[in-house]
Subunit: 327 residues, 6 copies
């Protein structure tokens, strides 16, 4: 894909006005309060895996409406007690369509000495990879293929209300675990996982850091119709049919816009962006980064598309996060 | 698309063995019995439309689990009582992803003097056309984009269990209407609509005829993996992730295979098929046609893909149906 | 397709200068005068169709050079004389590559109580749909595939000279019919049909209204080379070969530019436009709309491509046209 | 493109039955006789070109119905009379959509010491290359884009009736020229040009040789629907619309099938074929080769698509033709 | 991609004759002997990485012609000496176009308690992922884009002669390391890495096992031209230009065909195959598996393309390898 | 492709600043000086070809590092001594991926009375056409498919250092030939050949003219990332993997940028450009043209893509070159 967005100097200054509903905070307070009526403590089962050097647990925690949500929780095996009693933790959210797969597919942070929780995304997990295990027991009104337009007729019914709530509840859950230091929890994720991380960071308190990579779900008013690629294009296709619902659709989406969450962020953040990204156009990423209410860095990958920094970026994240924890 | 299936002489003889679960009939009897605990009678509202020559009603009937399902019901305006008191009726089901749209988009059968009901497909109606109005209030386990794999983990939860039940209930509903002759009801539809018509014909009694065009949802064991096109390819993508669920997936699908319904058909049928159809390969259509337990004709369109006979086929259907009603 | 043209506020102000030949009016006066040497009255044959509620006539009228051009003419069956003796009429032109097909494919206006004529496009009717029946007995110089470059070496020989003349003569013909009110004729059509409707509206007198949808054949100097999609791209391919004919080609096209016809319009118009239309880019549609010399409205479909408003737009057209006729 | 046709051993034996109309010979005798009422002698004009080493003439000869058809005629400049008074001649026909372009684009045979005539294809010459100069003054009934379906409603009106007649008349014309030895004329061409060469070879007498490369227009009953590529696909699209004209269409095409011409060939032939050719599938080429009634060789390019042997093949043709002329 | 190869029952029996040069063994003995003139011992440098739980070494060993080849060598950190002094080792080769990237991208086997070496592929490492670090200092004759045709004019110059030799030398190198048990070395890899693993297994002695996934570089005579996908298609493109080199090209490739290596295998193998794989068609994988001269299992992924089993397959490999080591 | 670059009036004024290394001239002086240590005189062998009217020689000359480079040298056969003793010469370079092929594929300039040398491009000649014959005996560090990134880690190792040197040495070689007038040598070529011609023109002295068509290898800082097409996209893919090498990569490329060569040109030039060219965007061509230090014309083809002017342009080149030689 050739360059399709503003030049970098404009991107770094791009801080657009984004629609924000008057009851944004009330909506989320109510939403979280209702879900927090269910217990925080997850159910953990030790998993027998080939990973002799890793303790692996199959986790079920209470998500939106108390729905059971699956995750993997992992720690380095510590045969002789060399590691601290409580470890800093990283909570990761997944990209669009993927499932939690297998524990051996998520080893980077554990091998770096962190406690680590990888959350399954409800209803997803059948598009690529090794599969998901979490149902989304809520139906929807008429919707296109994909998850982007399920329940888009109202903020209460919208799919990502449930997912973002799950994400906050995953943080709640991990903080209850013996081996986790609840004061040193970081969230991360790429693409959809980055969008979820942004929301979770804004809706939680006391996080050490957030590390959204090439985040999705930011600045819908620009993204929808700017790129012809899914998943944003799912909204275009929906509106191409539901020609009378343009206003309501964007009203719903404004409750879920990463930019509105960024304005409420309290933890420092490390973003990444690919300047040739045709899936999550760079201006939509910078919109969230430039509105981030706490400290924010961004790694710019000038010749990458949506894959962003990949392995290179993990190295940068690990160093940056070590500095945050040291700081 | 070039030819991709057997030559026509083989197709006309193709009558494959297709997996059939032992409790196929029990499953559907139980399913329909449960849904028939809800009343048959639909709610009708006269609609104000530009169609001065057509009586148009917005219909809501009780579908699977009593869920409200929308439809349009239409009759020729009969200002001076020239038409019979009760008209023969045509019930039509829609193609994949479409919604009931507007009444003026469904005028052929009404202009030909039939009472006509067009059923919305639950949850769909956002992929093309003018939109749907029917929710599917049931969630699902992990599933791919699209509707093909929702609830595919078991026959009880599978999406098409709800849709096929809706389709039978639409027939039940139309038969309660004053202006409809309940002994002269025909079902039709193209692609997904054809697959639904096949199921509805097998699960209902006393229909005059069924007219499935280029039907989808037939002979899954051949179709899935034979064509790379959606919606069959949705199942391929699901199984490409859920590598351990091949057996269960086809076990579920066997309850919904048009071939198994065809074996139970009691009304005469007029099929159509496009010999270059890369979406619903001809052999899968002939599999249903050749297993049809009652009289069955098929119009072969040798150089058409999935569009099949389009306007040409309506002319043939109208003549064929007139003969059935006359006969 | 992502957005590819100006933002809406600029589009609504976009009123470009477009080349207009000095003898534009003389050219068309001469052209029409020559064709009007042939009689106006069409030949009508009642057609036996399944449409019991519609009177259907197979029409042949004298088009350009008196060439026979086919059409369907339809009226609501009026068994008891409830309808007025003369009905308002709608004349519709077809999209690129399509034929008149079957009467049952054109029921919206008849079901709404109008007399209705659907004109076949000479030489076309083999690209999609159910087929055309009208020859174009005129050959051409070297030309690409498609119709866009046939005879493009001079305005006299250009293919659309014949088509636009046919379109005017279709109006002439429908006005001669007993059941039609010649003072209440409206023209419409989508894409190529919209472009023809614009020309026919400008070249006829006394029309009630024109309703071009997502019109093609407007503002060639911008459209050719701006979009890579056919049919405009046919001209690009022609000029990519005939590198010395750029000037002559656009000189020819200037006699057929919808913008030049719009400047001469006398009837009110309802346009439509899809803001993501990659076939007929929005600015080319707005160019015609903004130059329209009579009253003009436009329905904007912000997330549609070339399909525009489809069923939604018919509802808006029907209401708008009723207001024009009432007005 | 991967392999899509029979393995080579089967191809070399493939000699299918192909429909042949009873009046095939009568049709072509009548056709040629009518066109031969016009004079054979072409009009030649010496052309001023940069080609100092080549005599170049702009040729106009009488084609079908006496229509003027353009060609280039070229000879090596022979400043001192070293060359024979009469040279052997090569007549070449062009691929689909191309025009005669410029003389400097056709230098191979002239540089090899032949008199050379390159025929423009009527109506074509706007699809690729440098342009054509020959009109096709005959219109047609409804037809798709492209040339394949123009007049396909009857053999008399079919486009290739005119083109094949032009091709025979080009041979007649070149034989009248002073510098050409009329007993030593060879025809050649690639793709459409190969198909024309086959027809011209069968419809002419006394040729030295024919050299069709990857010929098009052979074995329509197999080719149409076997490959999804144009131009054969043009016929598929036509029949996908004109669903009732399958029989008539193939009846027309049988008068133009290269296999039926091959059965009547009297000159030796050198064919070529690309075994991965998705445009003119190898079996259709072998069908013509294997039916060739005179001696026939074929160069097989096992890993080429429709480009066939290109520069490699010219070397083989030149050597083969030299042997034919020497023999 | 739809199914493109034989049905599974035929695949499991498919054991084709494949060309084998008379001096195959001599060629490889000479090749290895020459490279083994350079020392076996690699140069290791401890790497500072975020991976606190893994010992990471940057390795340089002597490959073909003594050229320096890079690798990563990794072990679990063993703070208290719980692990055995010498670990079983896994040597992995990479897919086409990829580089060794970062250590954190290769954690599965280390986390499972193995010593692990990941070899860089010379000259590659710029197509995807995080980059390679190994030059290929040998030029080539005319070649297409990609690596498949470099030096294909003779076995001595062919690119994969160097790569396969590197692969054998990687095994030699890892066996010299203190922490590795030289009697318990296993090779693995996917796609190109699978093809390399097959060659390395046949050219080495005393391996515990080989685990090629969806291997490339097998049964060239079938693969080249059967699939239109790279990298096999690189050979097609080469031969489409070098039309006279077909025989020589396949003669060269026969020295590198995985089937010929399989015939010489001495270690047990676990293959994998995707039945919809359009890159390495299943029959080419089964050809190698079915010719494997030692015990061989194969995991069949019926609905996967070239991605094969991914995370699922690692689980199966880990269990299978544990059994081999236990056995 | 639709328009993708600036409007023509801006293009004609576009004269961007382009990075130029301080030692640009020193680098090339050193490079050429080293290669000129090898003799200038080529080895010529008369070739037996079908081209009776052309003297054809197979040429081998000493290129970069004295590596043998192949070419064709051709003259008109001059049986009676009508031509001058020494002819003006044209040296042509080839497009990306092509080889010198056959002599009969390069006849235009010879037929126009010029001595003509067509240089093979080292290592290339396997991508299209009839094949190349010149090895590139130099290996490289990690590189992508294609030639664009071979040795891109430093100017000394970069592939085009060798190619540009070959191009200069081809001029040196042709000037040694008896039949060539060394004062009247012109360079030309299209795409890559145009880029090479620009470099060769700047690095040679005393040329009559340069005629680069749609030149590649100009203004890398804009081209790389502006178009998504190869070969520029090869650099994007490289940098998408080697994320840390952006600066070094563009530093290397600055030694090879056509704009920097244009600034040093001394011979008049005729450029060509296609305004819809998605491979070598028009602004990159104009950047070189507008910086050309001597007289420069440009033929603009407004509706062409990368094919540019083709046969039309040869006519214009021939006339322009005749004027240069006459002047």
């Amino acid at each position: 894909m050739p360059r399709l967005d503003m030049p970098l100097p404009e991107l770094t200054q791009y801080r657009p006005a984004v629609s924000e509903p008057a009851d944004f905070d009330a909506f989320w307070q109510r939403t979280l309060a209702e879900s927090r009526l269910h217990p925080d403590e997850p159910r953990l089962t030790r998993v027998d895996s080939p990973l002799s050097e890793v303790e692996v647990y199959d986790v079920t925690f209470n998500g939106f409406a108390g729905d059971p949500v699956k995750a993997w929780f992992m720690l380095p095996v510590d045969r002789a007690g060399f590691l601290p009693a409580r470890l800093p933790a990283v909570v990761e959210y997944n990209g669009y369509g993927g499932g939690r797969g297998f524990p051996h597919e998520h080893l980077g942070w554990v091998a770096s000495g962190y406690a680590y929780l990888f959350m399954d995304t409800r209803g997803q997990g059948s598009g690529w990879g090794s599969g998901g295990d979490t149902a989304d027991p809520h139906g929807s009104g008429p919707a296109g293929s994909g998850f982007m337009t399920r329940g888009i007729q109202s903020p209460d019914d919208y799919y990502y209300r449930r997912v973002f709530t799950d994400a906050v509840r995953a943080i709640d859950a991990v903080r209850t675990l013996d081996r986790v230091d609840p004061e040193r929890v970081t969230v991360c994720g790429g693409s959809q996982g980055g969008g979820i991380a942004i929301a979770a960071a804004a809706l939680s308190t006391g996080l050490v850091a957030a590390m959204p990579e090439v985040p999705f779900l930011c600045h819908f008013e620009r993204a929808v119709g700017m790129t012809g690629n899914d998943p944003y294009q799912e909204v275009v296709r929906y509106l191409a049919v539901h020609r009378d619902e343009v206003e309501q659709t964007f009203a719903t989406l404004s409750y879920f816009d990463g930019v509105n969450f960024a304005k409420r962020a309290t933890a420092p953040a490390l973003f990444s962006v690919g300047l040739l990204d045709p899936v999550c156009p760079p201006s939509t990423v910078f919109a969230a980064h430039n509105h981030w209410a706490a400290d924010a860095d961004i790694e710019v990958y000038p010749f990458n598309e949506h894959e962003g920094g990949q392995g290179h970026h993990f190295v940068r994240q690990a160093a940056w996060l070590a500095r945050q924890l040291a700081g």
